[in-house]
């Protein structure tokens, strides 16, 4: 069968063609919203018009089967209009109030997980992992799955002091917002990469490889037309591996994840914050990484128990102080927690004030 005529540089279709009519009409004219329950919110326009959004969880990795099923549901209750959120949840956009209940019923019947709106744990931003990326030091989807199972009630019913944004990245390239999440998991290596010297000269740009190293651990090895790594300086980031295929860094024995906490991106109350290291390492333990869920549980529970209303995880920690964070969570403080990278000195405690 002949292929249709290809076009180039046309860009995506215009968004207007995908907006429900009530949105087109009230575009930019919304007055307020109300959260009806963790799965449903309504936006009310200055004109009085309303649109209801019903949110369901998604594993993000979707088969066409599931997409077709969602389409069918959207057609039945939403005039075919559906959207995805910036955290990969699905939102059914309901223009007609009478469809709201039947839609929710069908979703529940079909075992869709409804929720995530308000002060909840919403979906976990994540990345490819062993599913599609060469760089992964762990799997992202699996960890997301077990964490969301563990905290499902915080998606569907139980509320928190504020939203808790989680992320999982399968390597330190961090193709998510790990570096600014309330609680996040990032996969790391812990062994110096090995180099297949014979291949370097054919497959690898030596200057780029040297330049890729954040700590300057790589230098030329002219005799082999290759490079060498100063093991004392290497902190296993894998950037050399990214730019130079003959360098190998995976080591199942020593790969695993670190947990970082206290980041945020919004400007509310306090400025956007980076996540900071809470747990330097947990071994990969597929398929359900029980040590990871337990660790996150410990941190989350401490937050829930102690945070004030509206306080994000990072705001809570900054209020009580990091020394107290380690105390209340019982997490050990190690040399790995003390920064020794570029802005290390800015993290040292240049004050005589702290808690015991």
């Amino acid at each position: 069968m002949a292929l249709p005529q290809r076009k180039t540089d046309i860009g995506p279709p215009h968004y207007k063609d995908f907006l429900p009519p009530v949105i087109q009409k009230n575009y930019g004219n919304w007055k307020y919203h109300e959260i009806i329950n963790p799965g449903v919110m309504v936006h009310v326009s200055n004109s009085g018009d309303k649109i209801w959004s019903v949110r369901v969880a998604s594993p993000r990795l979707l088969s066409t089967d599931t997409i077709r099923d969602m389409s069918a549901i959207a057609e039945k209750y939403c005039g075919g209009y559906i959207r995805f959120t910036t955290r990969n949840n699905v939102e059914f956009l309901v223009s007609d109030e009478k469809n709201l209940e039947p839609l929710q019923k069908e979703l529940k019947d079909k075992k869709y997980m409804v929720g995530g709106i308000g002060n909840m744990i919403s979906n976990i931003v994540h990345t490819q992992g062993w599913i599609h990326c060469h760089s992964a030091a762990s799997d992202a989807s699996g960890i997301v799955k077990v964490l969301m199972d563990e905290f499902a009630d915080y998606f569907t019913t139980k509320t928190l002091p504020n939203k808790v944004r989680m992320a999982v990245a399968c390597c330190v390239n961090m193709c998510g917002a790990v570096h600014c999440s309330d609680i996040a998991v990032v996969a790391i290596h812990r062994k110096v990469p090995t180099i297949d010297h014979d291949k370097v000269k054919n497959m690898c740009e030596v200057p780029s490889t040297i330049g890729a190293c954040p700590t300057g651990a790589i230098s030329p090895e002219p005799s082999k037309k290759s490079v060498k790594i100063n093991a004392d300086k290497c902190m296993y980031c894998g950037n050399c591996f990214t730019v130079c295929p003959p360098i190998e860094i995976h080591d199942p024995e020593y790969d695993g994840v670190a947990i970082v906490v206290g980041g945020k991106v919004g400007n509310l109350r306090s400025n956007p914050k980076f996540s900071k290291l809470a747990i330097p390492f947990i071994k990969n333990n597929p398929p359900r990484w029980p040590e990871v869920t337990a660790a996150v549980r410990k941190i989350l529970d401490a937050y829930v128990a102690d945070a004030k209303k509206h306080e994000r995880v990072g705001e809570w920690i900054e209020r009580i102080g990091w020394e107290k964070f380690f105390k209340v969570t019982g997490l050990p403080f190690t040399f790995q927690h003390i920064d020794d990278f570029v802005i290390a000195r800015e993290t040292f405690r240049t004050a005589a004030t702290f808690k015991w």
């Binding site: 054919n202 497959m203 690898c204 740009e205 030596v206 200057p207 990214t242 730019v243 130079c244 295929p245």
Partner: protein, 111 residues
């Protein structure tokens, strides 16, 4: 490893057709690779390929596109100093085709 037959010899290439041993490269091999893609290499193509080879020999890295574009503008005239022109010459893109024909390592990372 896949191979290509070149003048009766089996030359090793990777999945994307880049040479596994850069020393295997000859001008003719470049021509043959291009033919495989349905391309006849003109002088204009060779201008690019030679620049890539010279640059690589000197710096051990492929030039950034912007450097390549500037070089072309210098040699072929400013109206050709843009990526459009490069894609006219190499419809699959300079990374995929020109670097390959030039016998450079496969560009990495930038995806």
């Amino acid at each position: 490893m896949p191979t290509v037959d070149f003048q009766g010899k089996q030359i090793e290439v990777d999945e994307d057709g880049y040479l596994v041993n850069l020393d295997d490269w000859t001008k003719d091999l470049g021509e043959q690779m291009a033919k495989g893609d349905g391309l006849d290499l003109t002088e204009a193509h060779w201008e690019v390929i030679n620049f890539l080879r010279d640059y690589y020999a000197k710096y051990q890295i492929a030039p950034m596109i912007k450097i390549l574009v500037k070089e072309i503008a210098k040699v072929m005239g400013p109206e050709k100093g843009n990526t459009k022109y490069l894609y006219e010459l190499f419809p699959d893109g300079p990374a995929k085709q020109a670097c390959r024909y030039a016998g450079l390592p496969k560009p990495t990372g930038c995806v």
